[in-house]
Amino acid sequence: MSRLLQRIGERPAAFLAPAAIVLAVVTFFPIVYVLWLSLTHYSLIGDAPTFAGIENFARLFADRRFWNALGNTLYFTVVSVALEVAVGLGFALLLARPFVGRAPMRAVVLLPWAIPTVVAARMWEWMYNGDFGVINYLLGTETNWLGDPVWAMHAAIVMDVWKETPFVALLLLAGRLSIAPELYQAARLDGAGAWRSFRHITWPLLKPLLLIVLIFRTIGAFRVFDAIYVLTGGGPANTTETLSIYAYKVLFQALEFGYGSAIAVAVFFCVAIITAVYVQLLKEAQR
């Protein structure tokens, strides 16, 4: 019998099983469960869940707060990702130049990415402080950044860009460094300047990697939660309430697990669409 167990233990399946089981419990099962939950009326402080069909989704479509959250999320995503990529690309090209101290620089650049988002958020929260914040001091203004309906979202965007740009920069840097130097040398011999080199060598060769980075950052920005939770909690007046924040409030403040799950499913759905679009673009870029 133990011989049989030994034999089973040597099969590939035995090596895949532990990971498969954990994934099943933490990923697959919840996906199925949340889909089911989104089809129920389920209040944690009420009775047992009752089936509700697509009522939650109907409610979703009519829910102005949902559309507000979606709009906020899209705005946040588009602006922050655009900035991250632009600044990240600039950093990458800069850091691709030869200089002494590459290793410490790598560590420095990794820091914003490596610290917890909530820590970064509190840090910026303090900098944004209307009365004692250093930003107001340096700019000579007296704005209550995080309390102003116009500025709050942008303050959050700036913080997120600060935190995520290094990640983008490092990835693009790796891609840039893997381009054979001979290509640039040949271009120089042909009389190409910096801009021409960039346009004809760097840009086309980086495009596939850029798309991958875009996918990851777009999805990441769309799911934003930690930063907003700490900085503004979704305010003021829901101007920074993103989809994840709204879903969280419905789930854990209103304790409506059915409707909250529906919102979460909507988020998942949006992310899936975004990914599909990008994958399509990626395929075309590789052709």
Binding site: F15, V22, V26, L94, W126
Partner: protein
């Protein structure tokens, strides 16, 4: 297409010449003084961008309470460590640091153990399922955490694991496994298949071959993966917020976010706590920046 594999060449070049190989990958225009000045200026700019907010937080943490609310001056007149002391005495902060450490270490161990076994099966044992793995990795990286927080919350509650470290360890392992398997597969693929065959002929069971031959040779990949998993687990917020209720299992990000303040927000202490939390991460990043970047780019650049 002209794209070379810098990592392998880089290490080779590094061994031979002792200098940073990425230097060599870029055209040498270092003789042009304007260029050099511009470069170093730019580098300082990037460094300032990354470090300025952290520097300000450091200044804040050392500022006497009275001077917290006065600007100018930018720099405090004297330095004080009372905020740091307050963090340790007045709050369950040390407990939370310990919790974070246990959770991160636990998740790392599980992700590495299960992940390397799975990667091993996929690359050396020729288990079928590589396409499935790819799909899973993509799907889980797409999955917004908010989507699975409700069902997992119900599950954790049902299992009686609310407010335990085990809940977080399990959840984080699950989230990081696809990435771990992905990174480890790309590292294991580089090892020659004949090594595994030789090990089996010499008398290894697959498990012995994995432990005695394959894993020692995959050490860089394990390090890179472990670092990424640890940092993820250390920084995670949403699930820690949802699954924990008391300092019994609260981790550091939750502690920082919910830092208590009776009337005023204790900015000095928050700053001190933030920096304390940043220290282990900073140390890891400083020591292992090369490995971390290797892990990050293993998926993106090569994949």
């Amino acid at each position: 297409m002209g794209v070379a594999n810098t990592d392998a060449d880089g290490d080779e070049a590094m061994r031979k010449t002792g200098s940073d190989p990425e230097f060599r990958a870029v055209r040498k225009t270092g003789s042009d003084p304007e260029f050099r000045v511009g470069t170093y200026l730019g580098v300082v700019l990037v460094a300032a961008y990354c470090l300025a907010p952290l520097a300000w937080q450091l200044v804040t943490s050392l500022r006497p309470p009275a001077e917290l609310t006065t600007l100018p001056p930018l720099l405090p007149t004297r330095v004080t460590l009372e905020h740091y002391a307050a963090v340790f005495t007045g709050h369950p902060f040390p407990r939370m640091l310990l919790n974070s450490f246990i959770v991160a270490a636990g998740a790392t161990v599980i992700a590495l153990a299960f992940g390397s076994a799975a990667a091993f099966a996929l690359t050396k044992m020729r288990a079928r399922g590589y396409g499935v793995l790819l799909a899973i990795v993509l799907a889980t990286s797409m999955l917004p955490p908010i989507a699975t927080v409700s069902p997992l919350y119900l599950l954790i509650n049902a299992l009686g694991l609310r407010d335990t470290l085990a809940a977080l360890i399990l959840t984080y392992s699950g989230f990081t496994l696809p990435l771990a398997i992905w990174v480890l597969t790309s590292f294991l693929r580089q090892l020659p298949d004949e090594l595994y065959s030789a090990a089996r002929v010499d008398g290894c069971t697959p498990r012995q071959a994995l432990v005695r031959v394959i894993l020692p040779l995959a050490a860089p990949g394990l390090a890179a993966t472990g670092l990424l998993v640890f940092i993820f687990a250390w920084n995670e917020f949403l699930y820690a917020l949802t699954f924990t209720a008391t300092e019994r299992s609260r981790t550091v990000p939750v502690g920082i976010a919910l830092f208590p303040g009776l009337h005023e927000v204790p900015w000095g202490e928050i700053a001190a706590a933030s920096l304390l939390v940043t220290v282990p991460v900073f140390v890891l990043v400083l020591l292992y920046q090369r490995r971390i970047v290797e892990g990050l780019t293993a998926g993106a650049v090569k994949g």
